[in-house]
Point group: C2
Chain length 167, copies 2
Amino acid sequence: MAPRESGEPESADRAAELEIVHLLRAVTVELGLHSARFAQANGMHATDVRALIALMDARRAGEETTAGRLGAALGLNSAGTTSVVDRLERAGLVRRVRGADDRRKVVVEVEERAVRLGQDFFGPLIARTVDLLTAYDERERAAIRGFLTGVRDAAAGAARGSAGLTG
Amino acid sequence: MAPRESGEPESADRAAELEIVHLLRAVTVELGLHSARFAQANGMHATDVRALIALMDARRAGEETTAGRLGAALGLNSAGTTSVVDRLERAGLVRRVRGADDRRKVVVEVEERAVRLGQDFFGPLIARTVDLLTAYDERERAAIRGFLTGVRDAAAGAARGSAGLTG
DNA sequence: GCGTGTATCTCGCTCAACGAGATAATAGGG
DNA sequence: CCCTATTATCTCGTTGAGCGAGATACACGC
């Protein structure tokens, strides 16, 4: 399936590599459950958490997020997007700001309260994760970084193309 | 925040470690979107995909999954669980089997069709991931394995305790 | 200042998931 | 063996997230 160069020891190695694949999936499952706990603890739904994450990501990258962009990132239509922003605004976690240049647009900004809420809940887990990394030297960290980058790009690339194979 | 042993060079390192944290989150987001595409492509919902994953995990571990266990794994109540199993059964992806020992129980078994469906969709991404791993030597792979195991356990541990910190 | 295109919102609907309670089977005491 | 308590699942009615269709508000060229 995957185009290999030549004859390395295969079947035994392959099992060890599959273990990492399952491990990665287990991580995504656990982190998903953790997000769900955050949602539940704050009377929110999974989509609202995903929206906050997208908004904070954009803010870190220094980009404004309009309602439309947010909806696209979440895979919602305009009605659903309005609904999400309504819920978050009602909860005091974001605010609507009319676009200065184009007044049709609605820029969604996260309130300071949402940032604090997220830090309080995810901070410990992040700290623990950072702590884990101190056990590895630079070469090992580079491997972790490279592997995660590769998986992210493969999954993102799978959006286009048949499924991101042979990339 | 995280209890450190002694004085290593901090702030610069911390930024590099946070990059990995963000990378990990990006991976979970992308894999989540990939699951969503799988769901959409097969007329399913996110919960149905999570259910299939849980069922296949259990099968790999050689365990039977009753309706109750499945619902607990998904965080659904009994009504919702019945609903999920109904949908999956209607789609021909699982079958209900009355428990042999305790006939109140309903064991949910995945149909061969569901396994093939999953392999067809996720196979390429898995192959790509396994391929990525061949670029690393055993020490680097051990680092990746150890890091993922640590994050998984930290997130799982966060279910109990204040948030899995200081574990 | 009118028409076309774009961004967001409103309305009505569907269906996933919930709470409450019904149904069915096991386990144990008399 | 019957009766009750307990456990596992399902049924019924309701809530609300997200959808499709269309309304509304603004932008921009003519």
